[in-house]
Symmetry: C2
């Protein structure tokens, strides 16, 4: 008797991440939200009966990509100020515009646009950090995408909250409102060591322990952060946060461009994660994070796009490729960060950074069915000696044709199933007119 | 009386490169092979009558991209050996496979595949350097693409020729056979200082002067080239070539990763060009060429993809973006290589490197009608504050929908007009089976 499942996907190759490698002519079987089996297509035809059957003869099927750091709503500022260093970029271009527009509707619309872009580009889960997380949660829920919302905290007043306490209050209220949504999760997101004082950090650490929430923060992104912290606090930024109790297995150090050996030892000892954002770090001239050295100490490294204001796209394929390329040049070793490692950073390592590795990040039986199909059959992809290499070095987000999250198809033949392009374009135009 | 032209293209933006900037709602008028006018669309409608009218309401129209360094036929080795440094990559992976397959039919088929990939990705002109240039010329002619064929010279025996004299003889015969083809041009391409001895270089210089041909060579790509040259010849590679008379306005230094200030002064004094190949240089762990310092001395810098064996794609959009990103990180200055400069490198500066700037590289009246349309209307491209920024930082080759070379449409709605995908796929499969 064949086993009944909801969905069967046949692919030219399946790349489950665990185990490593590409499995030619295999099928993924999905029951409800979860993966039921991964077997040769010949076996799938014999042993399974599926309500829906999708055949992808030129495609690679792999876990959905994880964007471990972004500011979704900032898609509305996409490319508004290129070629400017971090400090004036923030102070003269981004913050003044945010001050004019920052409100729940801006965040909702920008996040919806971000979710659309990410889903269509094969990103099924992101880690978002922005003001008005309640509005962002509403947008992600509408999109069907999986998201961790970082509840933002800064000491200075914003249209979101008057101070750090106000940020925490609003953020934790958003979490209370949405915490039963199965595709949403929450963490605490103090913006950076230099924008959040010791008192606020201590409160954040307390909430993190009480509510079992991760802490994520921008850390050592720009060259001057260490000197400033040493002068103000008598310790480097990471050492200061460690002293305040923030480090641990639930701590995500975002960027880490300026990490030094002592910082790396501390992150390793504490079991922290690093989110590498190569495009953003290069574009804002902050440099190249020492990813090979970080990984050599068995620290988990995920990939992030950062926001579209500075990237200017939310494209995890591009980040994986760029991460692989610059790691080789930075170390002078072409063997560093091979394609399989870069692809794992974009999937399972991203899931692990978000504490979601039991549910997503690989195509293993029992995990959530978050999977994407990438068409490797185009002439400009031929020949194909190794689909894993092609996924990192040849293809791009435009080749993603199908996307499922929790077994639900959110992109079909390149088109979003839940969101409407004309509606999204109208929202983008509205805010462009206001921001210009 | 309206003026009759063959083709009118209306676009949301035209980015002619000269003058700088993006011109909203403009039209390009084309008569025969050449650009007749660039005017506001309202004026085009009033003053011109076109046999063919193409309206592109969401697109940017710009000059076709120039890939100033590639090895077209090596598409057949796409991704066959990733994550290996230059020397073992060449000696253990690439050269043994080339030895097995290298012949005119291999070069023809690989070059045809390369031309298809480049055209569809908006590259209308390339500078190719590979064995059997006669077979490559045949492929480029069939594709309709513009190409400069570098006539390769190495001192050691290959299936192409027994020695440097044999290379020159075969190369110059290919040039004689094809030199009246309007879309083909030729240059002399000694592989590198370390593979071509003084006697051969002297002959090459003599032919270059007699026949008014450019000289292009791989220069200072890997870290050990300078020391080896100093030990063997008592001079750095560039200083040696200068002594042999090779430098001048027709000299293209490809890669130039290890260029030092004295080298840069020499290139500037001689009016040479540099071809920057960022992906290849990073992937093979050779490093980052000092592009900002080179450009600061007013040396023309073009962009190249290198071959698909090492890149692993022939995507000039990707090279322009990567060049902009790594130049910022390498200098620590986010203002270095702004988007407009990167786009000019990918177009007019590439044309200038090939000595073709009077005919191509910008959308100026009287130039050849080599132009491409890029759809910037997708949701993941919104909002769009600056189409020039989007062309470098947001879009990619997959958004190219139309391509014209010399007024002939070679890509229409994303499909090749001259070449057949099934035929190309069959050729790729044939060689993949033989090489695997």
């Amino acid at each position: 008797m064949p086993i009944s499942v909801d969905l069967r996907i046949d692919a030219r190759w399946i790349i489950p991440i665990v185990p490593a490698g590409a499995f030619a002519d295999h099928s993924l079987l999905i029951a409800g939200e979860r993966i039921a089996a991964l077997v040769p297509t010949a076996v799938a035809g014999r042993d399974y009966r599926a309500a829906v059957h999708v055949a992808l003869p030129a495609h690679a099927l792999l876990p959905g990509l994880v964007n471990a750091h972004t500011h979704g709503a900032m898609t509305l500022l996409r490319g508004i100020a290129d070629d400017v260093p971090l400090k004036p970029w923030l102070e003269q271009h981004i913050w003044p515009r945010e001050a004019r527009c920052l409100a729940a509707d801006f965040v909702h619309d920008g996040t919806l646009l971000a979710a659309a872009e990410m889903l269509r580009g094969g990103v099924t889960c992101c880690n978002d950090m922005y003001f008005f997380p309640d509005a962002a949660a509403r947008a992600y829920r509408a999109s069907g995408m999986r998201a961790m919302l970082g509840l933002p905290v800064v000491d200075f007043p914003t249209p979101y909250a008057p101070d750090a306490d106000g940020c925490l209050q609003a953020g934790l209220a958003a979490r209370d409102a949405w915490k039963t949504e199965p595709r949403l999760s929450f963490s605490l997101a103090p913006h950076a060591p230099y924008t959040v004082g010791d008192a606020s950090w201590s409160k954040i650490v307390m909430y993190a322990r009480q509510l079992d929430l991760q802490i994520q923060t921008h850390l050592l992104e720009a060259p001057d952060e260490r000197a400033q912290s040493l002068a103000q606090f008598g310790a480097g930024p990471l050492q200061r946060l460690h002293r305040l109790g923030a480090t641990g297995a639930g701590f995500l150090a975002i960027h880490g461009v300026q990490l030094q050996p002592a910082d790396i030892e501390l992150l390793a000892a504490q079991g922290c994660h690093v989110v590498h954002c190569p495009t953003s770090n290069l574009k804002l001239a902050n440099g190249i994070a020492p990813v090979a050295a970080i990984r050599a100490r068995a620290i988990n490294v995920a990939l992030g796009t950062d926001g579209a204001a500075g990237n200017n796209r939310l494209d995890v394929f591009a980040e994986a490729r760029l991460a692989a390329l610059i790691a080789k040049a930075a170390t002078g070793d072409a063997a560093v960060l091979p394609a399989a490692a870069a692809l794992k950073m974009a999937t399972l390592d991203g899931a692990a950074a978000l504490g979601l590795e039991r549910d997503i990040g690989s195509l293993e039986v029992g995990k959530q069915a978050d999977t994407i199909a990438v068409n490797l059959g185009g002439t400009d992809h031929l020949p194909c000696y190794d689909p894993v290499s092609h996924l990192v070095h040849v293809t791009g987000r435009n080749q993603v044709t199908e996307v499922w999250v929790a077994g639900e198809q959110l992109v079909a033949e390149g088109r979003l199933t839940r969101l409407d392009d004309q509606d999204l374009a109208a929202r983008a135009r509205y805010w462009q007119d206001r921001l210009q």
